[in-house]
Symmetry: C2
Subunit: 239 residues, 2 copies
DNA sequence: GAAATAAGTTAGTATGCCCTAACTTTTACC
DNA sequence: GGTAAAAGTTAGGGCATACTAACTTATTTC
């Protein structure tokens, strides 16, 4: 039980609140690399009212974490970007650790990490990473930022955009929806899996894939959540 | 005013906030077994103003977690006790896990656990416990409550109360002060260690101990933070 | 057992973060 | 290029938790 509640800082990090870290993560995810994040999109990702975002965004700008121009969205400052990447590192290392060291199924690591990322110190996260061999990606294939704040920001191709005949290796799947993850698991569409687009039905219809020795068929909504590294054999992207 | 709040439950636990969990832990620690907890003592443990405690205590009573009589302190209800023990289990399992699985030094597990206990799900805590073999005590020797809410509440003797000539096994040390823990570590006064009181200087002076093949001397303030299970050989308690 | 002291409470205020309702600015379209 | 729709903002509240200052109740002391 803590006496001396004083500062209660987490070692190696300014004491950002959980909501603030969530805002920064969301803004990073939206404007990855460059673009500005729209108030409405932040609100949607965080399941908040746009008005709430306006208020918070102003405070974050005052703290120097965001560059904010009224009516024109926000961008992370360098300091904001660093804070976002620290949180992202925490999140993904925790996900990887839960899966690797504690046998968590990949569809449930996200939710647990979502809470732990705000409580774990950098030291804990670094120990976790070391214990499981400094992984470079989380269980869904998302790259883990390094301690010094760099990330692989390669933009991969969505499976929904891969042309018929093209092959690729699944590098990453969206991590938030447990049901979707379980389904992808059943189909064994997992990071590392090599797949080939065999056919696409018209009007955004099902996509048929060759994957290993089996053939499977998925809808475009699902396909859009699967990112692949195209293999240079026959075809490229589809417009 | 407040009634049951819906959303965002942590699996297997009512959605208590971090402050509430801290209050319950503190109240449990104060009145362990029976007694009522005084407002001032709660305030001191949590490093809060007494007025803040009055306010919170009323709300917790409204929620059925405390029995509260104005001007006469509080006691945990059965529901409050269960909640306190869940948090305590989380705390101690996490401490044990950090030490065992991640190589944390015993003087730093407390602080980290203090934050994680509010974010970890019961499932995570149970997986941690299973992974390190269902420990019964944390690294400082404190008993870990079981999932179904029972704890060993044995009251041990403080080393400060052990009579000259008496022997005992260290079962537990206070866990909050890292510096003290490092010092105890240097002296290798650790849970499991067998010690004998060789002499006591008068006027609350230093206590000389035989411990293994060495002889060490500690002050009564430190000794009061070391709990021992007396061995029935020569003498009993003092005072 | 009354006065002094300690302990505890209420009142009023602050902060962080959220909401809805109403208003303003930007954008998109004919 | 003016107007409707979309996007964003401000105004005004609410809730949880904390604080200080002032008041009340309980306990101690002579």
């Amino acid at each position: 039980m803590s006496a001396a509640r004083e500062e209660s800082r987490v070692p190696g990090r300014e004491p950002l609140t959980a909501p603030v870290e969530d805002y920064l993560k969301a803004i990073y995810a939206i404007g990855r690399g460059s673009g500005a994040a729209a108030t409405n999109e932040i609100a949607q990702r965080l399941a908040l009212a746009p008005a709430s975002v306006s208020g918070m965004v102003r405070r974050l700008a005052d703290q120097g974490l965001l560059a904010y121009e009224r009516y024109h969205g926000v961008k992370l400052t360098e300091s904001g970007r660093r804070a976002a990447l620290r949180t992202l590192r925490r999140h993904r290392v925790i996900e990887a650790y839960l899966a690797e060291a504690l046998g968590y199924p990949w569809d449930r690591v996200h939710e647990e990490a979502e809470r732990l990322e705000h409580a774990a110190s950098d030291e804990l996260v670094d120990r976790m990473a070391a214990t499981i061999g400094e992984p470079e990606v989380d269980p869904h294939g998302a790259p883990i930022p390094t301690k010094d704040g760099s990330v692989d920001e390669t933009e991969y191709t969505s499976l929904a955009d891969l042309a018929v005949g093209a092959s690729g290796v699944v590098v990453r799947v969206a991590d938030e929806d447990p049901e979707m993850l379980r389904y992808l698991g059943e189909l064994s569409i997992l990071p590392g899996k090599r797949i080939t687009v065999r056919s696409r039905a018209p009007y955004d219809g099902p996509i048929t894939l060759g994957s290993g020795r089996q053939e499977i068929s998925i809808g475009p909504a699902l396909a859009s959540h699967v990112l692949v590294a195209p293999l240079a054999d026959r075809a490229g992207k589809r417009g």
